[in-house]
Symmetry: C2
Subunit: 351 residues, 2 copies
């Protein structure tokens, strides 16, 4: 227990997600093998969880169970979830464990709006950060990029975009292992003339910052890996993410149709099956699971509601990595540096 | 010449696009075969155009050539394009032909920003329409949908979204042959609680309109064909369109890699070659070419700058169809109906 790593405890919102304990507990079991030094705090219906642990004796030493009265419905409005789930729901208590220090990070596949609202209320944003963002890992032809915000905010000022850039850079350093990630601003044209005033002002601000800002990125450039970190507001980012997912599903649909259209193509499919398997893996949304609420005073990882065991395990691994790398401290320090620049920029306007 | 259809003349901005006359004139030649009753007015460098016509004698009867001093650079800022190209550029004069009635519609693969600015200045918007929009045809698993705005505007009020819905419905009726197209509003969640105030207010307005409004559509629903017409603002729509294009390119990249990874998969590719050809056709951006500026007092079709002969021919066909269907009159009438509703809605607020 003297080892730093052995102090990591991950709080799990067991009942959250489309499949609940069936996926979350199986993923904990798998994560326990991958990360033998990590402990888990399981928030949910104790009877069911204990029955699972009884069948997996290797887990009982590293898991604690916290019985919670209720779980948040996947389709509950955030306001209702907050009123009913405050202090008593598994989601609330798992997040609260991060605040009290009982856990290093929290993972939930539950209701995104509720998780966002509760995280903000319990953990609060870091000093100098106006609003938290939801960051995702986006597979690209060059590897992976971080895209944020993909749904926590709507609209955004230039200084908020700059804050997102700091948060996204820290996330890319932590989970993608990049020393100096390039930062792009999502815009509708690569010329300076295009885009909203806020996006243009953000570009000016980022140009004067310490960050490796490389300019505007168009929607088509995200998947091409034009920047390691792509910054946008939550409305645009969410539409982009969902559109990419929809397009991938659409092409899979075409591919299935094309492959079943003739005996020749069916035969071809048999020969190329291995290649198609590899393709599916790269298009698999579960492979890049683990959306992260950044800008908060603590680590909250949002797994996809429909994630399978692989996807949820990835989310747990991301939580462990981010907690152990002390990403929250990194963001706090970088924002403090950025704050000085923002203050200077503001002072310049007084002359 | 007594036939109504024989009165259709299409003005072509010959020098526009990444490939200029090489693509635009070859496409005119092909369109002339597809639409034997249509005439073409060719705006550009007369020497080159006449040399082309001399080699294709069947075209000389149906083509007129208008020598233009200059062409707009693909990367010129709209303000510069306007200052330099006003009255003298091929683009300006082709659009102006629509205003004077010399042409029924104009097609250009040139600089989008310049085309938008000139179209708005020359043709002006229809009464009751605040801003024109750029509408595109989006391939879906069910067929095709209209998505607008994909780049002519930034932001938008509830009443602008409602105007876009009217314009998009008329476009879907005309080019997709739908009697009562379903209308969806692009949003980041299907619950009523999500999205911006403007989008929510637009939903209320559309619910009370004559249009077949079916609710919110998420980014993932566009390619699934969740609505025949998807309404959004130009920033979000452009990002969505480019993200879908980028994702399709990204998956083609994976597909190529996967197919060249082993002898078995190469063999499979040989057997399945026909199926892959069919897949490429459905993913081909040229197949759905012909972006339309809607809301203007005239027809301006924007072809993709990088369109090949097939793509540009499609754009010409769209221009012919829209001109002959008198879509502009249809929009003017439908907006007038919508205007009464907007006025009522405004009057309600006075009580």
């Amino acid at each position: 227990m003297g080892d730093v790593l052995s102090n990591t405890t991950i709080a799990i919102d067991v009942m959250g997600g489309d499949f609940g304990p069936q996926v979350t507990l199986a993923a904990v079991q798998r994560a326990a093998v991958l990360h033998p030094d990590v402990k888990f705090a399981l928030y949910g219906e104790a009877d069911g969880i204990n029955a699972f642990l009884a069948k997996h004796s290797n887990l009982s030493d590293i898991c604690s169970v916290i019985d919670c009265e209720m779980s948040i419905a996947m389709d509950a409005k955030p306001s209702v979830a907050l009123r009913q789930g405050r202090k008593v729901s598994g989601m609330w208590r798992a997040i609260d464990a991060v605040k009290t220090g009982a856990a290093s990070a929290c993972v939930s596949a539950g209701n995104t709006g509720a998780l966002m609202a509760m995280s903000k209320i319990i953990l609060r944003t870091l000093p100098g950060i106006e609003r938290p963002a939801l960051a995702c890992i986006w597979p690209t032809v060059k590897g992976e990029s971080v895209v944020l915000d993909v749904g926590a905010t709507i609209g955004g000022s230039a200084s908020q975009y700059a804050q997102f850039a700091v948060m996204g850079a820290a996330y890319a350093k932590t989970v993608l292992g990049l020393l100096n990630p390039s930062i792009g601003l999502l815009n509708i044209g690569v010329e300076d003339v295009k885009g909203t005033d806020n996006v243009r002002e953000a570009a000016e601000l980022l140009t004067r910052s310490d960050l490796n800002f490389t300019g505007f990125v168009e929607g088509s450039g995200i998947g091409m890996g034009d920047a390691d970190v792509v910054v946008t507001d939550g409305f645009t980012g969410n539409v982009a993410l969902k559109t990419a997912e929809g397009t991938a599903r659409q092409i899979q649909h075409y591919l299935r149709q094309a492959m079943s259209s003739s005996w020749m193509s069916k035969l071809g499919y048999l020969f190329a099956r291995g290649a198609f398997g590899a393709l599916r893996d790269r298009m698999d949304p579960n492979a890049a699971n683990g959306g992260m609420f950044v800008g908060l005073n603590g680590v909250v990882v949002k797994s996809h509601g429909g994630a399978d065991v692989d996807g949820y395990t990835t989310a747990i691994s991301v939580a462990i990595e981010v907690a152990q790398a002390k990403m929250v401290d990194m963001i706090a320090q970088d924002i403090e540096k950025m704050q000085a620049l923002l203050d200077d920029a503001w002072a310049d306007t007084l002359d």
